[in-house]
Assembly symmetry: C2
Amino acid sequence: MILELHSPLDMHLHLRDGDMMKLVAPLSSASFAGAVIMPNLVPPVADAGAVQAYRQRVLDACGDDVFQPYMTAFFRSYSEKELSRLKELVFGIKLYPAGATTNSEGGVKAMKDAEATLSIMQEMDIPLLVHGESHGFVMDREAEFLDVYRDLATRFPRLTICMEHITTAAAVQLLDEFENLAATVTLQHLLITLDDVAGGMLRPHLFCKPIAKRPEDREALLQAALSGHPRLMFGSDSAPHPIHAKEACGCAAGVFTAPIALPRLAALFDEHGALDRLQGFVSGHACALYGLNPPARTVRLQRREMLVPDAYEGHGQKVVPMDAGCTIPWRLI
Amino acid sequence: MILELHSPLDMHLHLRDGDMMKLVAPLSSASFAGAVIMPNLVPPVADAGAVQAYRQRVLDACGDDVFQPYMTAFFRSYSEKELSRLKELVFGIKLYPAGATTNSEGGVKAMKDAEATLSIMQEMDIPLLVHGESHGFVMDREAEFLDVYRDLATRFPRLTICMEHITTAAAVQLLDEFENLAATVTLQHLLITLDDVAGGMLRPHLFCKPIAKRPEDREALLQAALSGHPRLMFGSDSAPHPIHAKEACGCAAGVFTAPIALPRLAALFDEHGALDRLQGFVSGHACALYGLNPPARTVRLQRREMLVPDAYEGHGQKVVPMDAGCTIPWRLI
């Protein structure tokens, strides 16, 4: 069984910088035609110069003529002039509530402070990408943030708002309430629940933000993906951390899935008899929604077992992927 | 400010065996008059000979003339003759659902298989201690088990049943439904929620079973302890694992609190103006409930800062305590 995917896109990717990016960027560019690159470096990527410079470093690290990095800028108050310049350089602007996740300390403290910039973005048709978590109890953070999405979607009806890495059944429902809401979902949130993170042994390599939720949440996400929901897109949120930052006293949040994402998704969609929906999930929905025209790249996958490496190493870095040391039933060919 | 506690008891303690026990047992016997010793070794402590031998090893490891180990046997089907013999040697019998926690693989698979033994225990007045978790979703396991407690409490009305290490508001409520139910609660479940384990960085040294729950659960446990509920007792569930088993890819469940438990409890009860309730919580309730007459030992605590060590080391073992490297406002003197 061979499956061809045309121009697969990862709509939410962390490439980091420096040596870590040199290790992980080629693992994404090998199997995707493009990816939306997150801006939460230290300091954040928050002006045109930083976007241009980071884009060049991404391209250098990928060492690939095809791969298209869709850059993002870190949300702050931008002037109309700044946004005009940024619009030429970025795919969208990523909003983080201050302190919600890795390197988000400079994020938004109060949503009302964001309104002026959001108005200009709406006029200029620049998509807004949001890490949607409150500062509440860890299992409630996404659900508590949904009212912010409702408010934004109502007040900026022509702004495309993407709920990044959704993890709850409630977020899936919300997607159907507003035409201007879209969402990405990760590989791990289609597969795991909090049980996999902390139900047996504690498994740091499955710890991420938002944290994996309840079985009924995973089921709702999976059904939405398998059913071909046109505003639900694959975004890996692949987020590498050095092994010493994961297997440690205070483990950093992030699951590294970039190199296994497409075979693992093929296995999942195959298992549910939904392989015909995978092209839309990993490319078609995003192209239609955002009007993207990604580079041509055909990725071929085969229903044949693949042993996931224990770790990926290089440039002095070592990163453990999800499913490390396990066999998955599909592979890239 | 000086506080004297008379014959404090830890009603739920894991001492392990061998070198680990040599390291941790003196840290309990230094500040408690006695403790209920859990039987989940490999193989489990499940006959009179094993109880006697383990008790002697515990006494040797403590190296203390006062400390009283209240031994337990691992629940299995016992004959009347076996229970007659055990009654002389143990404080109670500990029931684990198979696979619910560390070294519980030999536990009970179906509660109906336990009935004959429970009937004899009831007649002989041997307390039943229970690790009360289902095999469901990690946040629901205790709540799902409460019907088993209801059933046991109803069908064995003269059997004293202790719900070990309760973690939910629902379990606190259940305590008031049946006179023959009692409960222990740990230090950590009075202090932390899942947010502390996985809300920021992942913190393996706060990972235990049952996992810490929601803020409203912690609040209910704390209020029950502070109010002096007569059937709620302190049981640390202090559960040492070597540092390499905690800060690892698959972290073992257990929080090591034995050496800091009394000062940390004093700080907590002091903070809430309930220092007068601490004696009951750490000794009086257990003595009244079980008719214990523990060795005389007066433990003195002072409201003066104590720096918790980063780790306790010895006998080739290294264990990280809760609050490692932190300052707590009370100390043992």
